[in-house]
């Protein structure tokens, strides 16, 4: 590791964003490099100072009252505080995640090349790999289900005591996805529920767990090793549907699952 690399990565180290292997690499470099060691110590002290200073400002009471009052008004009747906000609202929404990107001098390109390999937040990528492996295992070993039944009221209680979450088990037979059972599996070293569905001759594993990686906003579709994955978060749970059916059908599955989850009545 060069000092240039270490200079960027030591921040990721003190911020707890490095995985164990890369944290060790940085520490090894720092142990042999007094200049980087000095920086690491200085930045650690700085973090400490930040952590101790009460820097978060309390919103003034009058602002809180103002916002609470505004939120109590039905949406259609809300008026914006100043004309300027109104004028800019439309243009800015378009840029939702596209804020200003001002280049920086300190080896942005270097940082970009480092980040793919090392940042723990790319965990979702690793989890996607885990999800596919678990899906493949379930197909190969003749161990698709631990509890094999199309009765959702049998599958759901089966998970009791095996997990720290109660996964939603929904029969979607009427919607074209047959519930065939449930299984306990492991993703990223954590026990997860797998709810197994069949679509024609294709198996869909729906993995349900407490959030495993970085939060997802909306639905994230990807393809890993030829399998389609649909990842979304709902009701405080992370859900990963994986199958060899095409992405459109998998999306349909996800939408029907969500719709059924929110449908009134017993589930």
């Amino acid at each position: 590791m060069t000092c240039d690399e270490a200079e960027i990565l030591l921040h990721a180290l003190i911020d707890g964003e490095l995985d164990a292997g890369h944290a060790r690499d940085v520490e090894t470099h720092v142990a042999a490099c007094p200049a980087c060691a000095e920086k690491l110590e200085a930045f650690r002290a700085m973090r400490q100072a930040f952590a101790q200073a009460p820097l978060k400002e309390a919103a003034p009471a009058h602002l809180r009252n103002r916002i609470e009052a505004a939120l109590a008004v039905p949406a259609a009747k809300i008026s914006t505080p100043r004309q300027s906000w109104l004028a800019s609202a439309r243009a800015s929404w378009k840029n939702f995640f596209g804020g200003f990107a001002v280049g920086t001098a300190l080896s942005a390109a270097l940082a970009a090349s480092l980040v793919i390999a090392v940042i723990r937040n790319d965990q979702n990528q690793q989890i996607a790999g885990d999800v596919v492996s678990a899906h493949l295992r379930s197909l190969q070993a003749g161990h698709l289900t631990d509890v094999e039944t199309s009765d959702q009221h049998t599958v759901k209680p089966w998970f009791n005591g095996k997990l720290d979450v109660a996964p939603p088990v929904i029969d979607l037979t009427a919607q074209g996805f047959t519930l065939i059972g449930g299984r306990l599996d492991y993703i990223n070293g954590q026990p997860v529920a797998s709810i197994v569905y069949r679509r024609r001759k294709h198996v869909i594993n729906l993995f349900v767990a407490q959030p495993l990686g970085a939060a997802v906003h909306g639905v994230k579709d990807e393809t890993v090793q030829g399998f389609n994955i649909r990842h979304w978060s709902e009701a405080g749970l992370d859900l990963w549907a994986v199958s060899d059916i095409d992405a459109g059908e998998l999306d349909e599955f996800g939408q029907k699952f969500t719709a059924a989850l929110h449908a009134p009545g017993p589930s």
Binding site: D15, P74, A75, N95, F96, I119, A215, W232
Partner: protein, 184 residues
């Protein structure tokens, strides 16, 4: 009360429960982005109203980064609007005449900075406030709002690698400013 009012009421209640606990975080970022207290408060209010309007399409468990992303966007839009208009004279109660330098606020040495040797809260706050954008927002999102690199990247609309280099740069600048105060 009509059925629509009921639905709106329930939705607004769910929104309040989810979003109001983050008011201090949103307000703090607004103070660093806008600096003028009145503008910051307007931005926060606009952020909450906008978030309520889009609450139906909100997904995922992390409310705080979502609100901060909206706030950031509100502030950027306001700067964009101002840059299209003749610059109004800075009003007397402005903390800093930020309108003149909306994106890049160069650190300014003032007589009292030289007198401060201890890093009390006010000093830390002032040094952070003196950082140029976008380094200021990156360090605030990390150190004060306590977000992960990934969450910061989503909010500022830049790759994680850019967030990393901005953070490294921001801390290097802070360290220089810190040492300058210490050694004066």
């Amino acid at each position: 009360m009509t059925a629509t009012d009921n639905v709106d009421g329930d939705r607004a209640r769910r929104f309040r429960d989810a979003a109001l606990p983050h008011l201090d975080d949103v307000f703090t970022l607004a103070r660093y982005l806008m600096r003028n207290a009145a503008d910051a408060e307007d931005a926060v209010q606009e952020c909450y109203l906008r978030a309520l309007r889009h609450f139906d399409s909100y997904r995922g468990p992390a409310m705080k980064p979502w609100l901060l992303a909206i706030l950031k966007n509100v502030c950027v839009a306001e700067f964009a609007r101002r840059s299209r208009q003749p610059v109004p004279a800075a009003s007397a109660e402005d903390d800093t005449p930020l309108e003149e330098v909306p994106m890049w606020q160069e650190p300014q040495a003032s007589p009292e900075t030289e007198l401060l040797r201890r890093f009390d809260d006010a000093t830390v706050r002032r040094l952070v406030g003196a950082l140029p954008q976008p380094f200021r927002e990156t360090i605030v999102l990390r150190e004060i709002n306590d977000l992960s690199y990934r969450e910061i990247a989503d909010i500022v609309g830049a790759p994680v690698g850019t967030v990393m280099s901005r953070l490294a740069r921001a801390r290097a600048m802070l360290r220089t400013a810190w040492n300058a105060e210490d050694g004066s």
